[in-house]
């Protein structure tokens, strides 16, 4: 009985922390419509800041608390609102999500930048050692304070929302933002207040929970996934239900902590995974959402042309060959990851870019692919690659089935919960039997992966592996392009715009979504398998949620509907960042924050960066002479490099120069031919402005008529 009470108290104090964090999340979500994935990271930063003031600089606890909770946290919330969140009003749910994920990644990077990871930073509980005797059991001061704080937060919020002017306008904002605006409320001020309060609540939770865990940026940021489970209990709206959810999650964890046999390796991971399992279950219990109607997305991804696809494939292959023949082994290992991770990034293109379904667990499917080749690919058996794809696809389908009906942030949370459950539990299991199937994971540490061997040719050197992953990347990229151009691809794009319309044509949405999830999980599995071969030995840490988030984010930044977006993600993470670090070690640390910063800028250009780059090179693509000359010159430089006439850096500089000169030449030629053929190559002026800013000529009027499908009206041009 005493044991039961002890763990009830443990559970309740966990519950109290989760409740505090979750209410902050619900508050900002309901008043501003932004689900802040980085909410936990704000708590994490606050915990670090508190540690810095209280334990590193030895400030008295009350002063440190006041500074963190009363000054730093609200200021941080205000800053977030002003700089980032305000720009997100009216953008798509996916964009909001990506920006908040970028914030999460950026904040983890920031914490690692300021507080070097890996060092021990002990943090005391409040009034360490002091306990209150409750007769049958005792409760520590820290636990009592935690529970008391949660009750205070509940009472305080109730008072704020129902008894104060700002609280009433917050609630009005939740009900109907436009109506509140018409009635003289000021949503901007409401948003400022809620971000400030939300940020303080996150900070409070972070400080309360930090003493019981390691002060480690990623795990502390994700610990707060537990609080998300509580928030989902309240459907992200109801504060009382959120508190109830927190109690359920907290007690579940507390009892698992007390009663799970600690010597059973299979159940050991269940406790840290318990809250995400609860989250997953709660999401499954949500009622069916209405079918989504048109969301008026700003994004647009054109279908790649056949010649464009071939040019892309050729360029990537050539780049792979050049890298494999010019770099030394160490660099080959580093930059080889570009293409392997690129394949995982490609897996997001059909599911996210085309179908608009958010999946945060592609890295988990990659892990499954890697594990399969580790255990079945002994001696480089090529069939293991096939098996990796099949198993990953099957797991993808299995995960997809229950979560398919969810969409938007709910789908994002469900896939994140799945990824975390694998990270915390399944991947750390020793071997087990699932019926007749013997399953091995990471063998409690790392598993070795043999390089592929086809017809006696082993891909057993870094350069061969680099070529293998390049070829695999190109093959998958061409597959994805083929999907985009197929009927299946059109259906995916159609679902993305309007589920309701698709259903009324007789499309079974579940089947189509299942198909795209399965496809993308299979691709991710292949990517993971190739990645595993490059690594040689795989560990769970290479495939966890936090590793996967920057990939997800950069694919969106690059352009989620385009294979170029996937390449962009691979190149940014494993090309540009290592390159910058090696060139300028002093700024290397900044690169940990860079992906986050890139993502935060996304709100301004939702169609992605690759498309702009594509527009930049389009004159060159159309100019065959300049293109041929450029390639010929590049081949010459490459030959010189192979003959060791020039070193790597001059070679790179020559390549870049050649490209720059060739595109400039193409642009000049395009312009001169345009003027010689009288406006033939000029871009058509915006037809909406004909007669306003564009001169009113017969051709333009005809163009307007054509665009509107009217019969050609005879209008005399007015000179």
């Amino acid at each position: 009985m005493e044991k039961f009470l002890i763990f009830t108290i443990v559970g309740l104090s966990l519950a109290a922390t989760y409740a505090v964090i979750a209410t902050g999340l619900v508050l900002t979500y309901t008043t501003t419509g932004i689900f802040n994935f980085a909410h936990g990271a704000a708590g994490m930063l606050a915990a670090f800041a508190y540690w810095q003031l209280r334990f590193d600089w030895n400030w008295p606890a009350p002063l440190a608390l006041v500074v963190v909770l009363g000054v730093l946290a609200p200021a941080f919330g205000l800053l977030l609102e002003r700089v980032v969140m305000r720009g997100l009003v009216g953008t798509s749910e996916a964009t909001k999500l990506v920006v908040s994920i970028s914030l999460l990644v950026g904040m983890i990077g920031l914490a690692n930048l300021v507080w070097e990871p890996g060092l021990s930073r002990p943090m005391d509980t409040f009034f360490r050692g002091d306990t209150i005797d409750l007769g049958v059991t005792t409760i520590t001061y820290h636990q009592a304070i935690t529970i008391g704080v949660a009750v205070l937060v509940a009472v305080g919020l109730r008072f704020l929302l129902y008894r104060t002017r700002i609280g009433v306008s917050m609630r009005a904002n939740v009900d109907d933002r436009n109506l509140a605006l018409l009635n003289g409320a000021r949503p901007d001020r409401v948003a400022l207040y809620s971000w400030a309060i939300g940020s303080s609540l996150a900070a409070l939770g972070g400080i309360l929970i930090a003493p019981s865990v390691n002060l480690d940026a990623p795990s502390l940021s994700l610990l707060i996934v537990n609080a998300y489970a509580a928030a989902i209990f309240g459907r992200l709206r109801s504060l009382p239900l959120t508190f109830l959810g927190a109690v359920v999650v907290g007690l579940a964890e507390g009892y698992l902590f007390g009663y799970l046999p600690s010597d059973n390796q299979y159940l050991l991971g269940l406790r840290p995974a318990a809250s995400v399992i609860v989250l997953f279950l709660v999401l499954l219990a949500l009622p069916n959402p209405r079918l989504r109607t048109s969301g008026r997305l700003r994004e647009f991804f054109p279908a790649p042309s056949g010649s464009g696809a071939l040019l892309f494939a050729g360029t990537v292959l050539a780049a792979g060959v050049v890298l494999a023949t010019t770099l030394d082994e160490v660099d080959q290992i580093t930059y080889g990851q570009v293409f392997a991770i690129g394949i995982v990034a490609l897996s997001l293109v059909p599911v996210l870019g085309m179908a608009g379904q958010i999946s945060l667990c592609q890295m988990s499917f990659a892990a499954i692919g890697a594990v399969v080749v580790a255990h079945h690919g002994a001696g480089g058996n090529p069939l293991a690659l096939v098996l990796a794809v099949i198993v990953a696809a099957a797991v993808g389908a299995l995960v997809a089935l229950p979560v398919l009906r969810l969409s938007g942030i709910y789908l994002a949370l469900a896939t994140a919960a799945f990824a975390v459950a694998l990270d915390r539990w399944i991947f750390n299991l020793p071997d087990f039997d699932l019926g007749p199937v013997h399953v091995s994971m990471f063998e409690l540490g790392s598993a070795d992966v043999d390089p592929l061997e086809v017809f006696g040719y082993a891909f057993n050197t870094p350069s061969r592996l680099l070529l293998l992953s390049t070829v695999a990347f190109v093959a998958v990229a061409l597959l994805v392009i083929a999907v985009r151009r197929s009927g299946f691809g059109r259906r995916l794009l159609a679902i993305r715009d309007s589920e309701a319309a698709c259903a009324t044509f007789g499309l079974n949405l579940v089947g189509t979504r299942l198909a795209v999830f399965t496809l993308s999980a299979g691709i991710a599995g292949l990517g993971g398998a190739v990645y595993g071969m490059q690594l040689g030995a795989i560990t769970p840490g290479r495939f966890d949620l936090v590793t996967g988030l920057p990939i997800f984010m950069l694919v969106v930044v690059g352009g989620a509907g385009l294979v170029g977006g996937a390449l962009f993600a691979g190149v940014s993470l494993y090309g540009v960042i290592p390159l910058v670090s090696s060139l300028a070690p002093s700024v290397a640390k900044i690169t940990t924050v860079a992906p986050g910063l890139i993502g935060i800028g996304l709100g301004r250009n939702p169609s992605g960066a690759t498309q702009q780059m594509g527009e930049g090179v389009s004159p060159l693509r159309r100019d065959r002479v300049a293109l041929a000359a450029m390639f010929a010159l590049m081949v010459v430089w490459y030959a010189l490099r192979l003959l060791d006439v020039i070193a790597n850096w001059p070679f790179v500089i020559l390549l870049v120069l050649t490209f720059v000169v060739a595109s400039a030449a193409a642009m000049v030629r395009a312009r001169s031919s345009a003027t010689s053929t009288e406006g033939d190559g000029k871009p058509e002026p915006d037809l909406e402005w004909v007669g306003v800013t564009v001169p009113w000529t017969t051709e333009r009027v005809d163009a307007v008529d054509r665009a509107l499908a009217l019969e050609q009206v005879k209008v005399r041009a007015q000179a």
Binding site: F505, G506, G561
Partner: protein, 244 residues
């Protein structure tokens, strides 16, 4: 037996009764009009019929078979198709691709021997979208958006076609063309149900009209009967007492 039979359908949103035991039928080869002031529940009724919104009570059947419990895509496979008042176009695709998606989907579940590409092309011709066939839909005005919606619905070769305000955003010539197209469809055996604000169009093309007001059916009859119906005049113009 009517082709489409909507019986006693009620929909409650919280405390608000959006539809109150609304019933209507649509016959094969006829154009049935559904009119009513703004907020009368016309679009809600369409959502119930197509399965996007489950009714609080009531029954929907096609050819006498109850489809109330079916999901939207299964209803479509019974021959139901619709257009949307707020356009639901696929913004990343061209006009042709928009219609082609619907034709492909239709081809997948039906045993229709028609080639989807040819079907798409013939629909583009019929709806007069030839000149803009390869334009992205977001570049087009609403009037043409409505035609694309109609084209997509036609690609499903429906036996019951629900049109939600198809003429809004169209000019007079377009509306006239549209009326001709509707007549053609009905003559081909389709049961056409038309929700429309353009009273002129409704009176001209409809064989039978139902009037909805505050979620209730207040009148039904031929265009001539509706035009002289007291309750309809009251709903649209306010009663003599109120205006006095």
């Amino acid at each position: 037996m009517p082709k489409l039979d909507v019986a006693e359908v009620s929909v409650r949103f919280g405390g608000n009764l959006a539809l109150d035991r609304a019933s209507f039928t649509a016959e094969e080869g006829a154009i049935t009009g559904l009119i009513g002031p703004n907020g009368a529940g016309k679009t809600t009724l369409f959502n119930v019929v197509t399965g996007l919104l489950p009714p609080t009570s009531g029954r929907v059947s096609i050819d006498g078979r109850d489809i109330t419990g079916l999901s939207p895509h299964k209803r479509a496979r019974r021959g139901l198709a619709r257009t949307f008042q707020r356009l639901e176009l696929f913004t990343m695709l061209t006009v042709r691709e928009n219609i082609r998606v619907a034709a492909d989907i239709h081809r997948r579940w039906s045993r229709d021997p028609d080639d989807p590409a040819e079907l798409t092309d013939s629909i583009i011709g019929r709806t007069g979208l030839r000149a803009v066939a390869d334009t992205r839909v977001t570049a087009l005005p609403t009037g043409q958006g409505r035609l694309i919606e109609l084209g997509r619905a036609l690609a499903c070769k429906p036996s019951v076609l629900l049109l939600d305000e198809p003429a809004s955003g169209q000019d007079e010539t377009e509306t006239e063309q549209f009326a001709r197209l509707l007549r053609e469809l009905a003559d081909g055996g389709t049961a056409v149900v038309l929700v429309e604000h353009d009273v002129g169009l409704v009176m001209e093309v409809c064989d039978h009209i139902h009037v909805l007001d505050f979620g209730r059916m207040i009148a039904a009859g031929t265009p001539a009967q509706i035009q002289s119906d007291e309750a309809v005049l009251t709903a649209y113009l306010g009663s003599a007492k109120e205006s006095a």
